[in-house]
């Protein structure tokens, strides 16, 4: 427990700006409040008066929090904020689904137009479905990390592992599909009655499928790497904030310093 928990929790609840900026601002406020309180105490003020004066000077009012939101909020968040909560959420989901669909359709069209795979393997659709899911997932995570901090879970880095899982699934499905196509090609080569181009078509389908799976996996891995850097920065900022609020560095007068770490927003879905 910190002596200024009530002030900081209100600030945290109302400071809807992207992480890690939000945690850094809260950390700055928390640290300043504790230092100012200490300064007033050194000057001979009583506990209650020192606390009250520190809050009066540095405890952010709703108007100040609004100003900070304006100063630090992203344009996209500002635009979406103008929509009511549910409508904004639906719009964001629709935009993400549209972006994922367009990305996959564009990629598919590109592959088809290139003529590399004239007769694609049916496994391509499974890889395309995984790619759409993966791209949607990366988009949703990017939205939470950059624009919508309230939708971040308590462990942003861990939450990104599912992207790696989808990339691995893409590789696995494309490898399996390629094996099936290669096996079909081997069968065609052994059968004298097979059409002459069947061997080439199956080999081509296997190569196209492998290339698609590898490309999607690499793209998802790239997205994961980019987002992971930001997620890690957010976790570090939260960690630093927890240190200040945990009571180890700034316990309120008379409070038990072994209360264990206090965590803002942990477990509340932020």
């Amino acid at each position: 427990m910190s002596a200024f928990d009530h002030v900081l929790q209100r600030a945290e609840a109302e400071l809807g700006i992207p992480e890690p900026r939000r945690s850094r601002i809260l950390l700055e406020m928390a640290s300043d409040l504790e230092d100012l309180y200490g300064t007033y105490r050194e000057r001979g003020l009583g506990e209650a008066e020192a606390r009250e004066r520190a809050v009066r000077l540095l405890g952010a009012s709703p108007e100040v929090l609004t100003e900070l939101r304006r100063e630090h909020g992203s344009r996209m968040a500002g635009l979406l904020d103008r929509l009511a909560g549910d409508r904004a959420h639906r719009l964001e989901s629709a935009l993400l689904a549209l972006a994922a669909g367009l990305a996959v359709a564009g990629g598919g069209y590109g592959v088809a137009a290139s003529g590399v795979v004239a007769d694609p393997s049916p496994w391509v659709w499974a890889v395309a479905a995984l790619a759409a899911g993966g791209i949607g997932l990366v988009g949703a995570r990017a939205l939470a990390l950059y624009v919508r901090p309230a939708r971040l879970g308590p462990r942003p880095v861990e939450a990104l592992r599912v992207v790696v899982g989808v990339a691995a699934a893409c590789l696995t499905v494309s490898a399996l599909g390629s094996l099936v196509e290669l096996s079909a090609a081997a069968g065609a080569a052994q059968r004298a009655a097979s059409p002459p181009d069947l061997l080439w078509r199956r080999l081509s389908a296997a190569a196209g499928l492998s290339a698609l799976g590898l490309t999607v996996a690499l793209l998802l891995a790239g997205g994961w790497l980019l987002l992971r850097k930001r997620a890690r920065a957010i976790e570090q900022a939260r960690e630093a904030l927890r240190d200040v609020l945990s009571g180890v560095l700034g316990a309120p007068p008379g409070a038990d310093r072994d209360d264990g770490p206090h965590t803002l927003s942990e477990g509340d879905g932020r």
């Binding site: 640290s31 100012l36 009066r56 000077l57 952010a60 929090l65 100063e71 200040v244």
Partner: protein, 120 residues
């Protein structure tokens, strides 16, 4: 030089903050405390108004914020060269405008405000 009266409050706050870090880097709470003390309590950056000012000035490159790790993480601010120039410009602009304002106030104080003549 004319002064936009709607922006006077913001400009005074910014000048007080910039002026507070003109000699040395300070943490936010020290700036708020010094503004209050250096102005004899005439100006107070209450209710956290300090933070939007600091962050705006930092964004404009007039001050630099740096996190330090002396026992606990703290952010301290120092004046940049651009900030130093801004202090000089704003001090000149605001003081000449306030000289005019003081003239008016002095006149009002000297002459007084005449009571409104009774009607009828």
């Amino acid at each position: 030089m004319s002064l936009d009266t709607q922006s006077v409050g913001r400009r005074i706050n910014e000048l007080l903050v910039l002026s507070s870090v003109r000699e040395e880097a300070k943490h936010g709470y020290q700036i708020a405390l010094d503004v209050e003390e250096e102005t004899g309590g005439a100006f107070e950056l209450q209710h956290g108004t300090l933070y939007p000012i600091l962050h705006r000035l930092e964004k404009e490159g007039l001050i630099e914020g740096e996190w330090t790790e002396e026992g606990r993480r703290r952010k301290e601010y120092r004046l940049t060269d651009a900030g130093r120039r801004r202090v000089g410009e704003e001090a000149g602009s605001l003081s000449s405008a306030f000289d005019r304002l003081l003239d008016i106030l002095e006149e009002v104080r000297r002459v007084g405000v005449r009571p409104r003549p009774a009607e009828g």
